[in-house]
C-alpha cells in the first residue's frame, strides 16, 4: 500500500497504471455498449420498441 504505483512514460504522456486501467476500461465499456444487443430493443410493427 505504501509503495508508489507503476507509471508509464511515452514521450510527453505520463500516466499511472491505475489511471490507464480506468481509461482503457471506460473505452472497452463504451465499445461494448455500442455493439451488445439490448434486451427487447428490436423494432416493432409501428417502428417503436
Amino acid at each position: 500500500m505504501d509503495t508508489p504505483t507503476t507509471y508509464f512514460h511515452w514521450g510527453f504522456i505520463l500516466i499511472s497504471l491505475p489511471n490507464l486501467l480506468v481509461i482503457v476500461g471506460m473505452i472497452a465499456l463504451f465499445a461494448i455498449a455500442l455493439v451488445a444487443p439490448f434486451p427487447h430493443g428490436g423494432r416493432s410493427d409501428d417502428g417503436r420498441k
Binding site: V22, F30, A33, L34, F38, G41, G42, S44, G47, K49
Partner: protein, 216 residues
C-alpha cells in the same frame, strides 16, 4: 347577465389567475406523458442510453451516503466499521458517477445531442460536469485526514496563482466542507433535475442517419 357573458367573464378572470397560467404552461411544455413516458422511440433500445441512468443512480447513492456521513461526522466515518463502509460507499459512488457521466458525455457527443433545439440541455450538462468537479475537489478537502491536508497545501498555490485564493481558501476546512455538503450538492442536484426535465421536454434526439425523416 346571460350565461354567455358570464362564461366570458369567467375566462377573463381565469387568464388573470397565475396558477392557471402556470398550469397551462406546464401542460403545454411538459405534459405528463412526456414527463413519465411508458414508450420510447426504437433507437433508444441501446446500452448507450443506460449511461445517463447509471450516472443518476450513482448520484442518488452519493447523496444518500453523504447525508448519512454529514449526520454522523468524521470520527464515525474514519473509525467505526459502519462509518468506514459509508465512507467507501460515498467514495465509490462518486467514482461510478464520474465514470458513467463521462461515458454519457461520449455517447451524447458522438450522436450530436445538441441538435434540434437541445443546445440548452447540452450546456446544462457541461455546467453539471464543472460543478461536479468542484464538488469532488471540495470533497477531497473535507476528508479530515492527511490526504486532504496534502491536497489542500499543494492546491493553495494554484488557487492563489489563479487569483481566487482570497475567497476560495482550500486551507479553510469550514469553507470547503460547507461548500461540499450544502451549496454544491444543491447546485448539482438542481441542475441534474433541470437537465432531465429538458430531456423529457424535448425528447431523445433522433440518430444522425434518421435526419431526413423529420426534425423533432
Amino acid at each position: 347577465m346571460d350565461a354567455n357573458s358570464e362564461s366570458l367573464t369567467q375566462a377573463g378572470r381565469e387568464s388573470a389567475n397565475w396558477t392557471l397560467r402556470v398550469r397551462r404552461f406546464i401542460d403545454r411544455v411538459l405534459p405528463m406523458d412526456h414527463l413519465l413516458p411508458d414508450r420510447q422511440p426504437y433507437f433508444v433500445g441501446s446500452w448507450v442510453y443506460v449511461f445517463g441512468v447509471i450516472t443518476l443512480a450513482s448520484l442518488v447513492w452519493v447523496v444518500v451516503s453523504g447525508v448519512v456521513r454529514s449526520f454522523m461526522g468524521p470520527q464515525w466515518w474514519h473509525v467505526s466499521s459502519v462509518g468506514r463502509f459509508f465512507n467507501s460507499l460515498h467514495f465509490w459512488s462518486v467514482q461510478m458517477f464520474f465514470i458513467f457521466m463521462v461515458l454519457h458525455l461520449w455517447g451524447q457527443y458522438f450522436m450530436a445531442s445538441w441538435r434540434h433545439g437541445r443546445a440548452a440541455t447540452w450546456l446544462i450538462g457541461v455546467v453539471i460536469f464543472a460543478a461536479s468537479i468542484l464538488t469532488a475537489f471540495t470533497g477531497y478537502l473535507s476528508q479530515q485526514n492527511f490526504d486532504s491536508q496534502f491536497i489542500a497545501v499543494n492546491a493553495k498555490d494554484a488557487m492563489n496563482g489563479a487569483g481566487i485564493g482570497a475567497f476560495f481558501n482550500v486551507l479553510n476546512f469550514g469553507q470547503m466542507y460547507g461548500l461540499h455538503v450544502m451549496l454544491l450538492p444543491i447546485a448539482v442536484t438542481f441542475l441534474v433535475a433541470w437537465h432531465i426535465v429538458m430531456v423529457r421536454t424535448k425528447g431523445v434526439v433522433k440518430p444522425i442517419d434518421a435526419e431526413g425523416v423529420s426534425k423533432s
